[in-house]
């Protein structure tokens, strides 16, 4: 999100889900859409049925490939090269949108120079994608009137994830595919309310609404609303908290998260959490993280609470209570308010809509939304006034920061690449039938019946070289850990690449992954690390 915020002044999907079917070109890079955003994928399929072209760039033969006109199977971690070489073709063949560049952007000349070295031949050499495909994709994208780019963690979970995002933004900027309906840059958010958590200021450097904590005037406004003096310095990010555990960092309060399973290098995470003086976990299940806690608070599920979620396209929608939660479990809001009161800071809200009103007071983008307005259909922010209908696509007529900025991006290799000792490249992700750390879906019998166990996807050529048979047990190890799981011999991954879903605690992919993270966003490199495989 920081990447897009730097370029445009705002970091979110620029278009909305219903617009997807009106794209005349879709470029999907680093997103296994059919498995991870199944309903967005349906809109993409609809677009293709209506005549749109679909280009996919992914190291794996993901299900969406069967709908694609061009599939570029690039090596994990080489996205910058792939995108730069596409842009090389666009610049060289004069397919850029001159008037858009002049009117709405800055630093184009500085940026375009960098592309000189990224010929399609260089692109082919580094990414492994035939240059003809790179050229054809570049032309198709640039010549389309309404081209949408869709990406997820395949772009961001790299030690150079921000660079990847800059490259995507450059591609959209140079072709003027922004600020209009059904054309834009769309990071698909992977969790039901991850957009909302970010919007709400659960970030160490930002209050709700992306307002920086270090700016005195902003801080003063929040101090006035909340009636206390606030800290002047930005806080620690999640990976930094983990790293600081055992030192000056003493206590952690975790609400509805499972870092033991979701963070890279499980042994490192566990060790860090064990070194804390005090760990509080609030969840609906005894997660792998909760097991390490000093205190566990039982919370209620989504089905037993009132409030709102904000989906990937900035749409604020109502969540409603359907059942009474089991036992003595309580709403997260109740627990927070109780705790706050007992620490001397009273929070008094009689219902969740009062909290929402306060948010609208502090962040103009939500000021025009209330529970009545979204009773039937959600509204997309920004929505500054009550008579405002919401904003399906962003940047109509210009960018929040004034001009969209081109960022010259050079290729940096991933932090840990295969070598003689660890010859295979591991990439991780989700699959269709499970969700994230599996806390919820692995409790659902039918889902767990069709996807009961962990597996590693391995290319037949690699499997043959290692004498590994389909369905046999193998041990996969990296410099950080080792797990044992079933081999799934399939053409899906590129030769030299293996894939493991991270849902399974009994063979946790994150026991292997690398903690190297992006210097700007602090996103760990879940998508590339080096492993070796042997028969178990």
């Amino acid at each position: 999100m920081a990447g897009l915020a730097t370029v445009f002044g705002s970091g979110a999907m620029t278009n909305s889900i219903p617009e997807i079917e009106n794209n005349d070109l879709l470029f999907v890079i680093g997103s296994n859409t059919k498995e991870n955003h199944p309903i967005v994928a349906l809109r993409m399929i609809k677009a293709v049925r209506k005549g749109a072209k679909l280009i996919i760039a992914d190291p794996r033969k993901i299900p969406m490939v069967s709908f694609a006109h061009i599939w570029m199977q690039h090596r994990p971690g080489t996205d910058v090269v792939l995108l730069n070489s596409m842009m090389h073709v666009i610049a060289k063949e004069g397919l850029v949108d001159r008037s858009f560049i002049e009117e709405h952007t800055e630093d184009y000349d500085k940026f375009v120079k960098v592309l000189d070295d990224f010929t399609p031949e260089t692109g082919e050499k580094i990414t492994g994608v035939p240059k003809e495909k790179i050229i054809e994709s570049a032309r198709l994208y640039a010549r389309s009137d309404k081209a949408g780019i869709y990406y997820t963690m395949g772009i961001t979970q790299h030690s150079h994830g921000t660079d990847n995002v800059f490259s995507i933004a450059n591609l959209a900027l140079m072709t003027g595919n922004l600020g209009k309906e059904a054309a834009g840059v769309n990071p698909l958010r992977g969790q039901n309310n991850v957009q909302g958590s970010t919007d709400m200021g659960c970030s160490p450097d930002m209050y709700p609404g992306y307002q920086k904590v270090v700016i005195p005037a902003i801080r003063a406004r929040f101090e006035k609303e909340w009636g206390v003096k606030l800290s002047e310095k930005a806080g620690l990010t999640a990976p930094e908290m983990i790293d600081a555990s055992g030192g000056e960092f003493k206590a952690l309060y975790v609400m509805g998260e499972n870092p033991v399973m979701s963070d890279p290098d499980m042994a490192h995470t566990k060790k860090a959490l064990n070194q804390l003086d005090f760990l509080v976990v609030q969840d609906i299940f005894m997660t792998e993280t909760a097991e390490l806690a000093d205190v566990v608070f039982p919370a209620v599920s989504f089905a037993a609470k009132e409030g709102t979620f904000t989906n990937t396209e900035r749409r604020v929608q109502r969540v409603r209570r359907a059942i009474i939660s089991p036992g003595e479990s309580k709403e997260d809001s109740w627990i927070i308010m109780q705790l706050s009161g007992r620490m001397g800071y009273e929070m008094k809200y009689s219902a969740m809509n009062e909290v929402f009103t306060e948010i609208g007071r502090m962040w103009p983008a939500l000021a025009g939304i209330n529970y009545t307005k979204i009773n039937k259909t959600g509204v997309q922010w920004p929505c500054p006034t009550l008579d405002h209908p919401g904003t399906p696509y962003l940047f109509k007529g210009g960018f929040p920061r004034g001009k969209g900025r081109f960022t010259p991006v050079m290729y940096r290799e991933s932090a840990e690449l295969p070598d003689d000792e660890y010859p295979l490249l591991l990439t991780t992700g989700r699959q269709l039938f499970h969700y994230h750390t599996g806390t919820m879906t692995r409790k659902v019998k039918p889902l767990n019946t069709v996807a009961p166990e962990a597996y590693v996807e391995i290319n037949p050529e690699d499997a043959k070289g290692l004498s590994i048979e389909e369905g046999s047990m193998v041990s996969v190890s990296s410099r950080r850990g080792e797990i044992t799981l079933k081999a799934y011999v399939t053409e899906r991954p590129l030769k030299g690449v293996v894939f493991i879903p991270f849902h399974y605690k009994e063979a946790a992919a994150n026991a292997l992954t690398n903690t190297a993270y992006d210097p700007v966003c602090r996103i760990p490199e879940f998508k590339v690390c080096a492993v070796k495989i042997k028969k178990a």
């Binding site: 199944p38 299940f285 205190v295 927070i336």
Partner: protein, 346 residues
């Protein structure tokens, strides 16, 4: 725009609109079993037959595009006789076991039988027999209740892009099945279940858990990925027994296997139900007061000893906006630190 008259009502519709859609949009009822706004017109069930001036025989409204000046009659005694016979024929090869059918009360075929008062059947005779083959854990197929409207086949191909099933054989032997009549093995999105007009397809999880009458329907949003699909939770006796979605939503009524079938965790036996404090390495159940006082005391103690920045909080993308707002407010006010983050990176 085109102007037409349906049952003496003048209507304006955009070019390319079907007669059925024009009628529906103007609240004029034409019965149908195989039509769905979200699918291509099919013309399979023959129930939407209408009379159009200048055309000698009744035509299917779903596959007939509106032309300017068209005059349509949706009901005549002849058309009603045709429709009644179509339903009668369908029922002649149907188990008619509505009393124990999962779909009763929510079944288009049952509605039509009721509407045409079909108590007896002139076409009684041989009925199709199926061997059930449902090892899959999601979808129950009672194929003797299938009326071959083809909605499931079309949604699977047109919308889901999977094409896991098709119509095999011909005539009386025609049936809908996966390749080689094997058990279903697909993405298990359940789109087919949601669109089936009879009791032929239903969810295994909700079998015998309660029909429409006593169910409370609560509209909410899916707790899994970021698509933000609108869900309807069907609640009976304080339990979510089924999940569905309206066509008139962001997700057009479509869901994925997690959204449609992944709700059993809600009342799972392993849910945490009491606050726990670890004493000598083992969790002990305590009261809320004890747990909250203990945590508030510990945080305060650490704050005094090491400063507020020795404490941090991780919020959750599972939780609501309001809860996330309160969480960061708590960290920034009661604790006094900006050490607050969430799981966006993972």
């Amino acid at each position: 725009m085109m102007t037409l008259t349906i049952d003496n009502k003048r209507i304006e519709v955009p070019e390319g609109t079907s007669v059925l859609r024009a009628a529906k949009d103007n609240d004029i009822y034409i019965p149908t079993l195989c039509d769905d706004d979200r699918l291509e017109p099919y013309g399979g069930c023959r129930l939407c037959l209408v009379d159009i001036e200048g055309i000698p025989r009744p035509v299917t409204a779903c596959t007939t595009p509106v032309t300017d000046g068209m005059v349509v009659k949706t009901t005549t005694s002849y058309i009603e006789r045709l429709r009644r016979t179509v339903v009668e024929l369908l029922l002649s090869d149907h188990p008619n076991d509505c009393m124990v059918c999962e779909k009763a009360g929510d079944c288009t075929l049952q509605e039509l039988a009721y509407f045409y008062n079909l108590r007896d059947n002139r076409f009684r005779g041989e009925r199709r027999q199926y061997t059930e083959k449902d090892g899959n854990p999601f979808i129950e197929r009672n194929m003797e209740k299938c009326i071959l409207c083809g909605k499931c086949v079309r949604v699977c191909e047109e919308v889901q892009g999977v094409a896991a099933i098709d119509i095999a054989y011909r005539g009386f032997n025609a049936k809908i099945c996966p390749p080689f009549e094997k058990d279903l093995f697909c993405e298990f999105c359940g789109q087919c279940v949601s669109i089936c007009p009879t009791g032929a397809l239903s969810g295994k999880q909700w079998a015998g858990r309660g029909r429409q009458k006593d169910i409370k329907e609560i509209k909410t949003v899916c707790p899994y990925c970021g698509c933000g699909c609108n869900l309807i939770l069907h609640v009976s006796r304080n339990e979510v027994i089924r999940v569905s979605s309206d066509p008139d939503t962001l997700n057009e009524g479509w869901l994925c296997p997690k959204g449609r079938f992944g709700y059993d965790f809600i009342n799972d036996d392993y849910r945490l139900t009491t606050p726990l404090i670890k004493k000598d390495g083992k969790f002990e159940e305590v009261s809320w007061d004890e747990a909250l006082d203990y945590v508030a005391g510990k945080f305060s103690e650490i704050k005094v000893k090491h400063g507020a920045d020795a404490i941090g909080g991780l919020s959750s993308a599972r939780c609501t906006n309001e809860e996330n707002y309160l969480f960061q407010k708590f960290m920034r006010t009661a604790i006094g630190t900006n050490n607050v983050d969430h799981c966006a990176r993972f």
